[in-house]
Assembly symmetry: C2
Homo-oligomer: 253 residues x 2
DNA sequence: CCTTACTGTTTATCCACTAAACTAATTAGT
DNA sequence: ACTAATTAGTTTAGTGGATAAACAGTAAGG
């Protein structure tokens, strides 16, 4: 139990916090705070003011504590952020009844993720690299995989499908989410307007782009983007499903 | 020329640098450095040591200059990073001859992007929000749109397709790219191994995930993921292409 | 009671970004 | 050519954030 292989290297301390229960101390004064309360406070700050606003001092001051007090609970800021991610995404919803098709379930999964990223926009910036995941994040993966359990996809294919779908949702959210003030947060519309202004003197260099940006703002553009990607992936799964045993070594060039 | 609408807010200074040519000064000593050389040096550092290693001091020291010297060339670090992104991605390749199908061109586009993210892994962390884009980035968009010009997709649909494809490549690259040491960079294999170690005592909570992670490491997994997504999107486009005029208000729920 | 372990604070570094004042160089305009 | 304006790079200094180390006070365990 003490001799863990250091597979996670850098992130071993996050693993500790994410996966082990606190080893309740005996002597000494009782802690006033808890990891839970700290993480919740940090999430609240990030929700409202962006990830950049989350500093150890800022979080500590929520409790009228000094900065260093937090280090009694979390080893450092990186670990705090790792905890924020796992708590922020929370547990996945129940995806549907027995009777529902894998398509229905998986689409529900994707749209639930979509709403997670809208509830916690900072999760987009916090998850830009492959990193240690906590129980909640892995539960999402598990849920996605479960939706595909009844299909004929190989485990590797199921994984691919989930990863691609997750990626699509994440990415589309990046265009849809409005970051808190400052922080360079642009609306999709603002981006379009501003970009068109930049290139309209250069119509010969960006003819297609100019045409696209000059089209009417199109109300449900984000919704369309989300839907297009989801449907493409689901159709892709269906195509594999339909295909006979042959291994998936296709990839037309 | 002086009265620009402040559409880009925060990022107005980046716009200036990305899109205006330098207003060649007249009096005073000649500048030793140039924005170009500074950006190149910063990119080199990021390529080798990661984005976190890029500090104003570090870049300046490449030229044996003081930190503050850089502020004669760029207004601040945020703007420098914006320039790094545009220069880093560079101009898109020529996508093919007249005769090539849109499928061929767009797939070439996607795979070229893939290699950009592998050449400059830091671009993944630097582009996590909607932001001002420079001439090169927009040229990539233009190229993607051009590939679709011969199709019957509406401008909005073309945009959706490009955005989804770009997002997919970006996202898959996140799993494939190896960050420089430290920085929490995990290989995909390392992640799999470590995650399996975490959940193998909890088989009842993560049965599917455990099965997936226990499958053989699968050599070309990244390649499969990339290909699966690309093909799904291309097929999705083809499906729209085949469909008659009806507006794309589908989206089965 | 007194030892021990633990909580929260104080103090102090380190590092990065950047504002402002300063020195030196160069050229425009006379 | 001389002078004033202008610019390049440096020096100095201030801010803010992360975190290490030492310290004081508190609550059990013996």
């Amino acid at each position: 139990m003490a001799g863990k292989k250091p597979v996670f290297g850098d992130q071993a301390r996050s693993v500790e916090l994410l996966w082990k229960e606190a080893p309740r101390a005996r002597r000494g004064p009782k802690p006033t705070l808890s990891v839970e309360r700290i993480v919740e406070a940090a999430i609240a700050i990030a929700d409202e003011h962006g990830l950049a606003a989350v500093s150890m001092e800022r979080v500590a001051s929520e409790f009228h504590f000094t900065t260093m007090a937090l280090y009694r609970y979390v080893p450092g800021k990186a670990e705090l952020v790792d905890l924020m991610i796992d708590w922020g995404v929370g547990l996945p919803p129940v995806l549907g009844d027995e009777g529902d098709s894998w398509r229905t379930k998986l689409e529900r999964w994707a749209r639930a993720l979509w709403s997670v990223f809208h509830r916690h926009p900072w999760a987009l910036e916090a998850t830009h690299r492959l990193r240690v995941m906590g129980p909640c994040e892995l539960a999402w993966l598990e849920a996605g995989l479960s939706a595909l359990a009844t299909t004929r996809l190989t485990p590797a294919e199921q994984r691919t499908a989930c990863v691609v779908l997750l990626g699509h949702v994440r990415n589309t959210a990046q265009f849809s989410v409005t970051l808190p003030r400052g922080h360079g947060g642009l609306t999709n519309e603002q981006w379009g307007t501003a970009t068109r202004a930049l290139i309209q003197d250069r119509a010969e260099d960006y003819p297609r782009l100019l045409a696209v940006l000059s089209a009417p703002p199109s109300e449900g553009a984000q919704e369309d983007t989300l839907t297009f990607g989801i449907r493409s992936v689901l159709d892709g799964i269906e195509a594999r499903e339909a295909r006979p045993k042959a291994p998936p070594r296709a990839g037309r060039r």
